[in-house]
Symmetry: C2
DNA sequence: CGTACGCTTGACTCGTGTCAAAGCCAGTGG
DNA sequence: CCACTGGCTTTGACACGAGTCAAGCGTACG
């Protein structure tokens, strides 16, 4: 089903710079193909040459690679508003895969529509470019995080998730719905699920978080950021305000 | 000293797409400020708000972050032709630092000159954007590499360095000058220098590499790529041809 | 009501860090 | 020309974080 529902995109870009009337009109004219996708389902796979990009309207997704040993390495989580494969606009072959974690609502946009949009609206080009640069910055954050020990790395990851969910209005001051399994968290940190479990228990025992019934509550934000050595600069958020 | 020596940029972009006459003229008009910088010297630091970008004309540099525990985490190495902080064109505050490893020759270009260039030449915008997307892809490669065990990760890193140096003509079929210390390699892999040393010896003992007098020789390319689970797709090279 | 998936726990193994010391090499200055 | 110095590499002994294997438990859903 094709519609023109790019309200999400408009809102997203409007949070980056103030959109002109002409730009908003052009954005709303974009043909968007909306699809609902079950949980744990590939959206695009490594090696493909996509002819379209997509943005997440609802749900949580992740980028991942499979190594030679068959392990899944999660490279990033994606929250509503993200455009995880925007890079395919200029890199023809995808070097990683993207799959849903929870059931998702996805909006697809053809490359040529985006390219035409960019040709006519340089400020939109800049905004999209900026999006991909922030992705790169998050990857840098994850490289560093991969070298922390597991307790600290887990704290850092949880901080990032809360801040990013808050940025799109999906977390309140201290808690959010987190439908990510321990096995997925462990794939994101490069540790075993057994160890992920132990580390989460340590974080609970330290009184930093509570995690039950798919809800993460941060009981001690200061303590959690300090345990995770978390500095939100790398997320390049607009207002720079992390969760409290 | 300001000159117009952007031959390097022209060559680089020409390897990505065929440059028109108008584009080449515009590139050659770019004011470039050339500087020689000693080894182990910061070029730009985290937290700065650069008003210019730079490209490396000669030498090896690296991007890094300092963690809360004071460790230096190297995020990427940079070879001649690279523009390590191109992102500062759209992200105002730098979230990492860039320093030289060997003595370097650097060409600085003001942001406003680059912005004017991009406004007039959309294809050059795309080429620059593409550069930053490849950086992001390399970061993804490093996230995965951080999860390999040290022996494999070191093999992977050496493969990447050889391939990237070959791509700019700084390595022949099987060997290259590698003026990177074991301590720098260990910071790039997130392991101790002691362990980096042991792992290099294992690679030598396995007959995969020779490393002496600042020269890396790959004795068994197939064996090295297999040890490192190396697939050059993520480097998004033009001809796709890795070292043999 | 059963079955599957996710979470939890314990015991043992192994990769890697840390500490400490020694060797090596190149550049510097007497 | 040679001794001195500092940075880089190498080696050994020991400690610890994290993986693996294996089993049990809880709970959501068909």
């Amino acid at each position: 089903m094709t519609s023109h529902d790019s309200t999400f995109l408009v809102r997203k870009l409007d949070s980056i710079f103030s959109i002109s009337e002409g730009e908003e009109t052009a954005l709303r004219k974009l043909p968007v193909q909306v699809a609902e996708i079950r949980g744990r389902q590939d959206i695009v796979g490594a090696g493909e040459r996509p002819s379209r990009c997509f943005f997440i309207k609802d749900g949580i997704a992740c980028s991942y690679k499979i190594t030679g040993t068959g392990d899944r390495e999660i490279l990033n989580f994606h929250v509503p508003g993200d455009m995880p494969d925007l890079q395919s606009l200029h890199l023809d072959v995808l070097d990683f895969s993207i799959c849903t974690i929870t059931p998702c609502v996805i909006g697809f946009i053809q490359h040529d529509a985006l390219n035409r949009l960019c040709e006519r609206h340089p400020r939109i080009t800049s905004a999209f470019w900026r999006e991909t640069l922030i992705d790169a910055s998050v990857f840098r954050g994850w490289i560093v995080n991969a070298r922390r020990e597991a307790y600290s790395a887990m704290a850092h990851l949880l901080c990032e998730l809360v801040v990013r969910l808050r940025a799109v209005g999906l977390a309140d001051a201290s808690s959010c719905e987190l439908r990510i399994t321990q096995s997925e968290l462990s794939d994101a940190l490069g540790i075993s699920t057994v160890h992920a479990n132990r580390v989460l228990q340590e974080l609970r025992a330290a009184g930093l978080i509570a995690l039950k019934e798919r809800t993460l509550s941060v009981l001690d934000w200061k303590g959690l950021t300090s345990a995770g050595d978390f500095d939100p600069t790398y997320l390049h958020l607009r207002d720079g305000s992390p969760a409290r």
